[in-house]
């Protein structure tokens, strides 16, 4: 196996996540695309960890930290989306323009 093949797959997943963040209107689906980007980063971390044959497995530990932070992010993010939906009766990101001049 080559290191490049894992990075290319990670790049494909990350780019699709960027596409999703830019095109989706629903806030829940924007969060879902962010999750795809985080999964891509995890693949890169683990692939480089195996590539440099890290004795303390730093890349794997950091991907575990990313998983924990992603879980926290989804929890808080969905709570905020829920609050916005309760106040404005819509979870579409382009209708949330209260701070626009």
């Amino acid at each position: 196996m080559m290191i490049s093949q894992f990075i290319i797959v990670g790049a494909a997943l990350f780019s699709l996540g960027v596409y999703g963040v830019l095109t989706r209107r629903n806030a829940v689906l924007v969060l879902l695309s962010v999750e795809l980007m985080l999964a891509a980063v995890n693949i890169n971390f683990v692939a480089f960890d195996v590539y440099v044959n890290d004795q303390i497995a730093g890349g794997q530990i950091f991907s575990l930290f990313i998983i924990a932070v992603a879980a926290a992010e989804v929890g808080i993010g969905l709570a905020i989306v829920l609050l916005i939906f309760r106040n404005r009766h819509s979870a579409n990101v382009d209708e949330l323009d209260l701070m626009k001049l």
Binding site: M1, M2, Q5, V28
Partner: protein, 178 residues
């Protein structure tokens, strides 16, 4: 390139990676919200399989437990609570101009990362070696113990923040809400 196809590991990689990218593509383009979440499950399960292929067993099972077990359920709850339009719906994404712009941006990003990586690493090889869970534990509680504690504080803050944000404030004279 014929060497590449002669290794069995690479065939396993293709069998995992191709459905993963397709599922990720459908997850960001699907017109049905629930289908989108289910395609995310496929993509994450494939990423767990890639971790197994690399020998990172602990990370693979953590992805299965945390992402597929918890995060996806949270997403489904979020969709149901915010009454996101179920069924086919055109209002889920932006219009065509935005889509073309986003496709250009993400395509350029993919091309940039791919070209730099292939030029930088070329065909540098990678040999997968199974990482046992006790190696991860040793490292996490010796070298990485302070980040580990910080992550526990982050999780506590997220727990409290989630409760505070999502709970409905009782209105005066309306005890039933409590």
């Amino acid at each position: 390139m014929s060497d590449w196809f002669s290794e069995t590991e690479n065939w396993a990689f293709l069998v995992i990676a191709v459905p993963m990218v397709l599922a990720a593509f459908r997850a960001v383009t699907s017109r049905n919200v629930v289908h989108s979440v289910l395609f995310l499950v496929v993509a994450l399960a494939a990423s767990a399989a890639l971790f197994l292929l690399l020998g990172a067993e602990f990370v693979a099972w953590t992805v299965v437990l945390v992402y597929i077990g918890a995060v996806v359920v949270l997403f489904l709850f979020g969709i149901m609570i915010t009454r996101a339009p179920l069924g086919t719906e055109t209002q889920l994404s932006h219009n065509y101009q935005t889509k073309i712009g986003a496709a250009l941006v993400s395509g350029a990003l993919f091309a940039l990362i791919t070209v730099t990586t292939v030029r930088g690493f070329g065909d540098a090889n990678l040999t997968a070696r199974p990482t046992r869970a006790d190696e991860i534990g040793q490292s996490m509680f010796e070298r990485f113990v302070i980040p580990f504690e910080v992550v526990s504080v982050v999780l506590l803050a997220a727990l409290i923040g989630g409760i505070v944000l999502a709970r409905r404030d009782p209105v005066d004279g309306d005890e039933a809400v409590r």
